[in-house]
Homo-oligomer: 337 residues x 2
């Protein structure tokens, strides 16, 4: 199936289909020079399938992991584009997860002030969420995503078949963002997590459809798009303080959501889903350390931050909390009301 | 006087007025944290006048010169914004020439995916041209402006009074871009260069007005905006090959224009103006070396480049030349027809 993200001149199609990576020409103009960017853990088989369909492609690999979202990699990739004499009319295809999309998307946004960018997500997390929306960035020191751009892809190709090479931990990590999407916007999506078997294509499709609508309503994150940050305020802080080597992004978001699910029955449901997904428990944390990162989050204001709360599946509450209020929420702990 | 650059939601005012830097609040919201970015040659007096009007400003200086349009400075400035806990709602004011505008504009475009950017140009070159249009970038090795963004300022404040601290070489260097603008779009502007005294405010106003119209018609340089590159194809190559320490940008553009003024009488007029502005002669050049840079210019296609030619003052011809044609134009030399 195909959806269109309607963003005026920045509109683009999303294909969600088993086997879709075998016919990328449906949405990608491959008759030009194409830089395929992937981390070193993306299996060759996926990269080769894509490269073989291009007239004139070369592959750039970088070390897997959040650590590659740095200035050094950003510059190294840009240099390789220049060395390959890429022009403004050429294009980048990212094949990989969120890190690949964020890093190569920012490279595409910046090379010659912006060239065409295509995203072929190969992790659940990027398939259900991060591949759509145009938020690209690198980190700076411990500040996540603090340097970047809004740069919409020209097309996104989501092929659930490529998920077969992932570990179950990676799959579950990614499913957290889909669950988040359900909690704020789509109760049916939450229900899918309680079925006997997890229907991945359906979860992906429903999740991306919510994401698409939110991005359409608010491309530059001026308002509504903030709801997608459910779980991320505290989640990012845990990730920055403890997570970059220990936890995956989705695992931290799962932790972060617990602080702002404000209904006991719903929290019990969510905790059961967490068990099913085998997610880690929230570790002991230093409140001062988390507050440091929260104060530096780019979504924070001078003395407050807008957080998303959920009382019933599918509907959100946006609330401006002072740093003192956040601090006392952290003092109560994730498992308390 | 004030003009508006009409670019939909990216529209912004340009103030051109002697003494304008004394009342920046007319167009800048100063009630927030403001990073004032200037190179170390911008006189303190201008920086202080601006800083004193801000509620909460801090000044970041960097070494003057094209060499600062590099990843190291880009990263250093971004780090200082983070250290100062700048948020998305805060702003940057650039005070300086083209280098300052390009570098701090790209910092503004990238910090937290984009914050407000104001430009107070203090050189003739930036006052007549580069401060308007939203093209921001840094260099990579010898590739000029190869990494950047389109990021429109929120306002531009042009105060001709600040030009009094410039050397005559700097003034003349900047006037080349105004002459270029006249040659492609405004014969009256060319005439101004032949009057007994040079009326700077009038030259600035007419030049910016042309630039504004061209940018309005083509914000992202998809078509018409290419005419502003008159003189830049070969000029940039000379600058990359010989100029970064020897010549100023405008001096190189002046050299580059000579190759594509296709009328003898007009070229004679222009050469007389060059004499008046005391511009350097075109040096001996290696054709191979210049061709290397032209082939890598981001405006080049795979085997050709669109150049701008002028046969009569105020009107341009856009022409796609193969690299072979450019090479034979270089063989004829700048002073031949």
């Amino acid at each position: 199936m195909q959806m269109i993200v309607h963003l005026g001149e920045n509109s683009y199609p999303i294909t969600i289909e088993e086997g879709a990576i075998h016919h990328i020409q449906d949405t990608i103009d491959t008759h030009r020079k194409i830089a395929i960017i992937a981390d070193d853990k993306v299996p060759d088989q996926w990269v080769n399938i894509v490269a073989d369909q291009c007239e004139n492609a070369f592959v750039l690999r970088f070390p897997a992991g959040e650590g590659s979202k740095c200035f050094t990699q950003f510059e190294a990739l840009l240099e390789q584009l220049a060395d390959q004499e890429m022009t403004r009319k050429d294009a980048i295809i990212a094949i990989g997860g969120g890190v690949t999309g964020d890093l190569s998307g920012f490279v595409a946004a910046s090379y010659m002030r912006g060239i065409d960018f295509y995203n072929i997500p190969t992790t659940v997390l990027s398939q259900v969420d991060s591949s759509v929306g145009g938020k690209v960035a690198i980190d700076m020191g411990s500040y996540k995503n603090i340097v970047g751009a809004f740069w919409q892809p020209k097309a996104v190709i989501i092929d659930p078949d490529v998920l077969t090479t992932l570990s179950s931990r990676q799959v579950n990590n990614g499913l957290v963002e889909a669950l988040k999407t359900g909690l704020i916007q789509d109760p049916v999506l939450v229900d899918l997590f309680e079925k006997e078997t997890l229907d991945l294509p359906q979860i992906i499709t429903r999740s991306i459809d919510v994401k698409r609508k939110v991005v359409e309503a608010d491309e530059k994150e001026a308002g509504l798009r903030k709801i997608l940050n459910f779980g991320h305020t505290i989640g990012h802080a845990i990730e920055s303080a403890y997570g970059l080597d220990t936890y995956l992004h989705g695992e931290c978001v799962a932790m972060g959501m617990l602080f702002f699910i404000e209904d006991k029955a719903l929290k019990d449901r969510v905790l059961k889903i967490y068990d099913r997904l085998d997610l880690p428990k929230v570790p002991d944390y230093s409140i001062d350390q988390l507050m440091h990162y929260i104060a530096h989050d780019k979504k924070s204001n001078r003395n407050s931050v807008t957080v998303v709360k959920v009382k019933s599946a599918g509907s959100y509450i946006l609330e401006d909390l002072s740093f003192d209020q956040i601090r006392s929420r952290l003092e109560r702990g994730p498992y308390e009301e």
